[in-house]
């Protein structure tokens, strides 16, 4: 049973650049959520995708955008990178309607902005 996978593992960018992170959900899952985890902090909710639409969004600027594909995989895009965007980006998947919607997390992508 394939778990949640994310790519790349690490990424280094410079200020002002754009980045795309990718996530494949756990087999059988249809909902993908993205989180930003700064060093020493808990994950912060960015947004959630279901049926290829953004369903809910946390307190993040429009520079953060996403997409979900028909196979349920998802991308997180960040434009005009700032130093403060340096963090671990976590993807989590779940199956809608299963009550409790327990999320399963991927290993994350470590983004460093120089």
């Amino acid at each position: 049973d394939a778990g949640v996978t994310q790519s790349p593992t690490h990424l280094i960018k410079t200020r002002g650049q754009q980045v795309t992170l990718r996530c494949s959900p756990k087999s059988g899952h249809d909902t993908v959520s993205w989180y930003q985890q700064a060093l020493g902090q808990g994950p912060q909710f960015i947004f959630q995708y279901y049926e290829e639409e953004e369903r809910q969004r946390g307190n993040f600027p429009d520079r953060f955008s996403g997409h979900q594909f028909p196979n349920y995989s998802s991308e997180l895009n960040v434009n005009a990178l700032l130093l403060g965007d340096s963090a671990l980006y976590l993807c989590a998947s779940s199956l809608a309607g299963t009550g409790g919607d327990t999320q399963y997390f991927g290993p994350g992508t470590r983004l460093t902005v120089l």
Binding site: G42, P43, Y50, Q56, G100, Y104, G106, P107
Partner: protein, 117 residues
């Protein structure tokens, strides 16, 4: 807005001993879910245990159990017979459903647990 507070930034416990991690939360909701996740140094977040707020019985998963006090808005995690592999960052999380079946998790800042040999 919901908040989750973990007041113990770091804890340590001897191998085979028992340790309790604290978590409090603030919400006006009556239906919600609570979770404990473990994040080892390898950084993959792993579900430890979950609790539905409408259930009075405390959840248990092998050596892990919770003490859920709904009125006090408290959700502590007890780890029995601690093992070296329990060394990790532990996050408490609150979840409620939003519109159209959506939901989001709100995480605490974590407790770093070190199990000592």
């Amino acid at each position: 807005a919901q908040t989750v507070t973990q007041s113990q930034p770091e804890m340590s416990v001897q191998e085979a001993e028992t340790v309790t991690l604290s978590c409090t939360y603030d919400t006006s909701e009556s239906n919600y879910y609570l979770f404990w996740y473990k994040q080892p140094p390898s950084r993959q977040m792993i579900l430890v245990i979950r609790q539905e707020a409408y259930k009075q019985q405390n959840a248990t998963e092998n050596r892990f159990s919770v003490n859920f006090q709904k009125a006090a808005k408290s959700f502590s995690l007890k780890i029995s017979d601690s093992q070296l592999g329990d060394t990790a960052m532990y996050f408490c999380a609150f979840m409620k459903h939003g519109p159209s079946g959506t939901y989001k998790y709100i995480f605490g800042t974590g407790t770093r647990l070190k199990v000592l040999a």
